[in-house]
Symmetry: C2
Subunit: 190 residues, 2 copies
Amino acid sequence: MNKNSYSPKASQILDVAENHMRKGGFDAISFRDLATAVGVKSASVHYHFPAKADLGQAVVARYRERIMDALGDPKDQRSMASKLQLLFDTYAAALKDGDSVCLCCQLGAEARDLPEDVAAEVERFFKNVVGWTASALSSSLSASKADKLAAHIISALQGAMVLAVATDDESHLENTRSLLKDCVDAQVAG
Amino acid sequence: MNKNSYSPKASQILDVAENHMRKGGFDAISFRDLATAVGVKSASVHYHFPAKADLGQAVVARYRERIMDALGDPKDQRSMASKLQLLFDTYAAALKDGDSVCLCCQLGAEARDLPEDVAAEVERFFKNVVGWTASALSSSLSASKADKLAAHIISALQGAMVLAVATDDESHLENTRSLLKDCVDAQVAG
DNA sequence: AGTTGTCTACCTATCGATAGATAGTATTTA
DNA sequence: TAAATACTATCTATCGATAGGTAGACAACT
């Protein structure tokens, strides 16, 4: 279930698949391309991931685990502001590393066209990351307000990444970070 | 250039293509599927739109014109609040009508994988709609603040649609509308 | 001996795209 | 007016490329 359970070759395949999916969605990967990229034949990719849906699900699950690991415990001693900053940084890294949007922003948009298992994994990602954010906010806000604000923060970050990629202007992410900070402060204050 | 220049059959093709693209992106359309849906052969679709990129570009251009027409003049007599409400409603309609995200949210995410002409048209959509919003805000804010807030509003709306579709929860859009309203009010006030 | 990982070879289905023909409708010209 | 020409919108048939997926052989390691 966790990422360490994959063999080195399977991990390589997941790496390449994640990269391609972040740029073009689920349909942007093909067994042949992945095989060529990691130096095997397409049949060997099927050995590790029997069907394409299995591969997609694995990519999303590993991505979710990695992000959640990077975010850490939302209820620990760090300040709320530093937790939110970590959330922004994690998103910004996703944009800069791959010159592409968050994997689940890409897949979330096409959720209606995804194999069921993959879509479920994407939904799980969003619920986890919104849950983490709500939990980080909960020290300063009521549960109801924290839930709503958390969903809004994730929405805005996702959208900012889309705008950044679509208009080739990275400043959208920092712009949204800045305005969201004001939004959080206002909610906490009043 | 405008949508009235398309023949009835070409318009039908664009309708179906837009619907499919909003659910699964550019790769979700195929000449055969579109042909079947409108009752012709795939070669006939090529007659109207020689290559797939031509079709994609036409879909996005028509979409942009339709949305901009619906928004109207951002500098007319209506109040700023009513203009923003219209913007929200237009986005909400996109979600409800097709059970799918905004076309350009879908395509924006995969901008790096799109044919050049299609990507350019998507970028144009975003610049137009952000420009409209900035213009609508400009009566109450400095140009610099209006630009930034406009980009943030569009970002948040795009992201809210992704979350709504990915988690099958439409309330994200209203939630974001409400929080954005507070954000605009705060900016105008101070 | 059994497991793991990869291979060759193949399948069916679909993709975008093209060639060439045809019937009907305009438009131009003698 | 009548014939010649061009255009519109479709068709059938086909192309090469690629898609996801499978069967079975083979070699290496435990």
